[in-house]
């Protein structure tokens, strides 16, 4: 089953919305007996940044990890009902190749996790696994990914040095560059700046803003100001339920739900 993402153009006469890339319908998810997500339905739009916000334990990271089936790695994790489609392909279909899925849906984690290898090898790793051996092709992809991740200028003269010698912010951008190397269409980011200082955070936010020209990005963040700054749409989760989802402007300026209002204005809890 192919996961080539070819999104359909918006229907004529419809409201000018980008095409949906991820469609989630009536999703129920549980860890063993404990249900973590309840009846979630929403669409994620192409080349937009979608932010998931909500208090700890609300299910936003669990939900994010459903998009590239990272939850499969947890034995007791299970989708009880509902569907997740990426480009109209049900990603929980038995025929889906999960490795292939994860190439299309890259992920960046809270804590940067570069391989204990050189900067160059970190980027080239995924391509080598795919069988790409030609050094000119590897060189050009490494360069373009590092440029896309706004890191090239800082590391171009030390590509063979260990990635572990980079600062926290640089390591995080390296991980983003590494995710880009296998040419994903969607990037998932799970609190990508929570371990970074304000300057490194600003650089990653700038990067997210640049990357959305070519990628669909879903970001989980505890930092509401960050969600307001970087995202086009925001979804607020509470106790495993999607409380409100809409344009970020609406969520932060005029939310419809009183719980959303309380959360974004800091009156929650």
């Amino acid at each position: 089953m192919s996961l080539d993402i070819q999104v359909k153009p918006a229907e004529a006469g419809s409201k000018v919305l980008p095409p949906e890339v991820i469609k989630i319908r009536n999703l129920d998810f549980s860890y063993g007996e404990s249900q973590a997500l309840f009846d979630i339905s929403m669409d994620v739009y192409e080349k937009e940044v979608t932010a998931f916000i909500g208090p700890s334990g609300c299910g936003k990271s669990t939900f994010l990890r459903c998009f590239n089936r990272m939850n499969d790695l947890i034995d007791i994790a299970k989708i009880k009902s509902g569907t997740i489609k990426i480009s109209d392909v049900d990603i929980y279909d038995e025929e889906i190749d999960v490795i292939e899925l994860r190439k299309h849906v890259g992920m960046v984690f809270q804590k940067s996790n570069p391989f204990p290898k050189s900067i160059y090898d970190n980027i080239a790793y995924g391509m080598r696994i795919q069988g790409i051996k030609k050094s000119s092709e590897l060189d050009s992809t490494v360069e373009s990914c590092l440029k896309s991740a706004a890191l090239w200028g800082e590391v171009k003269d030390r590509l063979n040095e260990s990635a572990l010698g980079l600062s926290g912010g640089q390591q995080q951008r390296l991980c983003i560059a590494r995710a880009l190397a296998v040419k994903p269409k969607i990037l998932l980011m799970d609190e990508p700046c929570s371990a970074l200082d304000p300057i490194a955070t600003a650089k990653v936010e700038e990067l997210i803003h640049e990357l959305k020209k070519n990628y669909t990005i879903v970001v989980v963040t505890h930092n509401m100001q960050q969600a307001a700054r970087v995202s086009d749409r925001t979804a607020f989760f509470y106790l495993g339920r999607l409380i409100e989802y809409g344009p970020t402007e609406q969520i932060f300026m005029n939310p419809e739900n009183s719980q959303t209002e309380a959360y974004v204005s800091g009156r929650f809890g």
Binding site: A202, A228, R229, E249, M253
Partner: protein, 212 residues
């Protein structure tokens, strides 16, 4: 480090400058229409007020949006507050100009003759210059010019006071009401209010530049 959303602040600045220029234009047109006995100019000025109102609304929305989504602090936050307050003043200049057009229409329909005792031409020149200076002290970030606006406004107040005394004296002597004279006094008051708004804007610029 320049952030991608800082462009939104530049857009906001440009919109505020545009509003300022339009408010100056409407003030100039309204007064020229009266002084040159040109009803076309009066009508043109009257038609511009809605545009100013819309622009002021746009600026207010952009300010609230920026506060909500960008969490500005320090000079960025001061700029937002200045934009909110100054845009209100520019819009009020438009309202005063619109009020002048209503009175001007009545004067021009009746006989169109203004008493030479009223110094509306000088008053109008001063007010328009003041609005212009209020815009340029914001654009050029010129603190000295902003303080000069505060001083110049007093000249307009003085002329308006003279007009008021003149009308009082004439009314006491003639004991008859003259609508043209009464409307002229109201126009004088509107011009004086325009000067006050320009002064308010200059004060905002002083706050923006001196942080006080």
């Amino acid at each position: 480090m320049k952030r991608y959303f800082h462009k939104e602040l530049n857009d906001l600045k440009n919109k505020l400058i545009l509003l300022g220029e339009k408010s100056n234009e409407i003030a100039r047109l309204a007064m020229d229409g009266l002084l040159e006995n040109d009803i076309e100019k009066v009508n043109k000025a009257a038609g511009m007020d809605d545009y100013l109102d819309d622009l002021e609304q746009e600026i207010s929305y952009a300010c609230i949006r920026y506060i909500s989504l960008r969490a500005p602090v320090s000079s960025d936050l001061r700029l937002i507050f200045v934009a909110l307050k100054a845009s209100r003043d520019f819009e009020r200049i438009g309202d005063e100009a619109h009020s002048i057009t209503r009175k001007s229409s009545k004067i021009l329909i009746n006989d169109g003759k203004l008493s030479e005792q009223f110094n509306l031409q000088e008053m109008s020149n001063l007010a328009c210059q003041l609005i212009k200076d209020a815009i340029s002290c914001f654009v050029e970030e010129d603190l000295e010019k902003a303080f000069a606006v505060l001083k110049k406004d007093r000249e307009i107040d003085t002329i308006n006071q003279k007009h008021f005394e003149l009308i009082s004296d004439i009314s006491m002597q003639e004991k008859i009401s003259d609508p043209t004279r009464f409307n002229t006094l109201l126009i004088s008051k509107s011009i004086e209010r325009m000067g006050d708004h320009a002064k308010n804007i200059a004060r905002e610029v002083i706050f923006l530049l001196s942080k006080e």
